[in-house]
Amino acid sequence: MAEQNPAEQCIFCKIAKGEIPSFKIYEDEKCLAFLDINPATKGHVLLIPKDHYHLMPLIPEELSAHLGQIAKLISLKSIQLLGASHSNIFVGNGAAAGQNAPHVIIHVIPRYEGDGLNLELNKHSVKPEEISKVRELIGKGIEKEFDFKLPVCKKEEAPIPKEEPSPKEESKKEPSEEPKKEEKASLDDVANFLTGQ
């Protein structure tokens, strides 16, 4: 990151500080919730941390727990107050996921019958091999991050990658040769991408 403090340029930091007016609906020392002036539906709320973070995963545990609780409460309120059928809590990380500002925004979007929003997750069936491939890929990171050991599954018919049943020492140390490895996206890449660096 360059000399310039990105928070100084950030419109959401200015809203959080009250330098730009907003339709505030909730505020505490850590976060601010206000109405989106370009709402997807009636009652669309933006919940932001007061401190500047580019991406949700950069937010420390304590703050994410707090934001999660507030988002849940606002979400339930929106159903109660506005007669919504249900409500979505939505976060976009990266432009491909709909993030268009370099400050974390948790959207709370009340949903109404026939509102025409496309926020549904369609279900697709996939082959078990594809799932085990993805599990292997993400599982490695999970094991490191959480001090957790993925359970080894003893199922004959499931086509398991070679490495799976191997003893602890091997699978832990030696990452398998993933063809995609060189292209691996890191969190920094995504953050840089967002800030145009």
Binding site: I25, Y26, L35, D36, N38, A40, G43, H44, V45, M56, P57, E61, A65, H66, L67, G68, Q69, A71, K72, L73, S75, L76, K77, I79, Q80, L81, S87, N88, I89, V91, G92, N93, G94, A95, A96, A97, G98, N118, L119, E120, L121, K123, H124, S125, V126, I131, V134, R135, L137, G139, K140, I142, F148, P151, K155, A158, K184, A185, L187, V190
Partner: protein
């Protein structure tokens, strides 16, 4: 409960990515897109409102850490977190990897809102959220929990967070 797909999948070994005493993380059998991960409470609740705040907060925290791992380990261009609040069924947090032109939707056209409507909605929310607090002040609609429970919970949470921070 036996018919709950979420309860079944979270116990399916081939799908499991992480679990602790309260929270399960797994790959769904029916993903919206490649690498669609679900984070949920182990305990079955009928809907999110029934799940205690502290449990949801913990699941949300885990979901955020898993997002980080996903962004670092899969070649994706973005990631969405989506929760459907108020729908009946075992509440879940969806983490969906995003790629350019994946046609998953999940965006909307920003249209300027009506100023009067914004003001009205603000007043409605404001009157309700003023008393809104975390942990100590449960909203009236939430299932009642005693104060002593809250204390226990925050201690528990602290312990777990410390445990989570431990690096192998």
């Amino acid at each position: 409960m036996s018919k709950c797909d979420i309860c079944r999948m979270r116990k399916t070994c081939e799908l499991i990515l992480f679990e602790d005493d309260d929270v399960s993380v797994f790959l769904t059998e029916t993903p919206a897109g490649l690498g669609h991960v679900i984070v949920t409470t182990k305990k079955h609740f009928e809907n999110l409102e029934k799940a205690p705040d502290y449990l949801f907060a913990w699941a949300f925290t885990i979901a955020n850490k898993v997002s980080k791992v996903m962004l670092e380990s899969v070649n994706m261009q973005g990631l969405n977190l989506l929760i459907e609040v108020g729908k009946v069924g075992h509440p879940i947090i969806n983490l969906v990897p995003r790629f350019e032109n994946d046609n998953l939707g999940m965006k909307w056209d920003p249209k300027p809102g009506d100023q009067e409507e914004l003001k009205t909605v603000q007043l409605m929310y404001e009157s309700e959220t003023k008393s809104m607090g975390v942990s100590e002040d449960k909203p009236k609609s939430a299932p009642q929990e005693t104060k002593s429970d809250d204390k226990e919970i925050s201690d528990k949470e602290d312990y777990r967070i410390k445990q989570l921070l431990r690096i192998p």
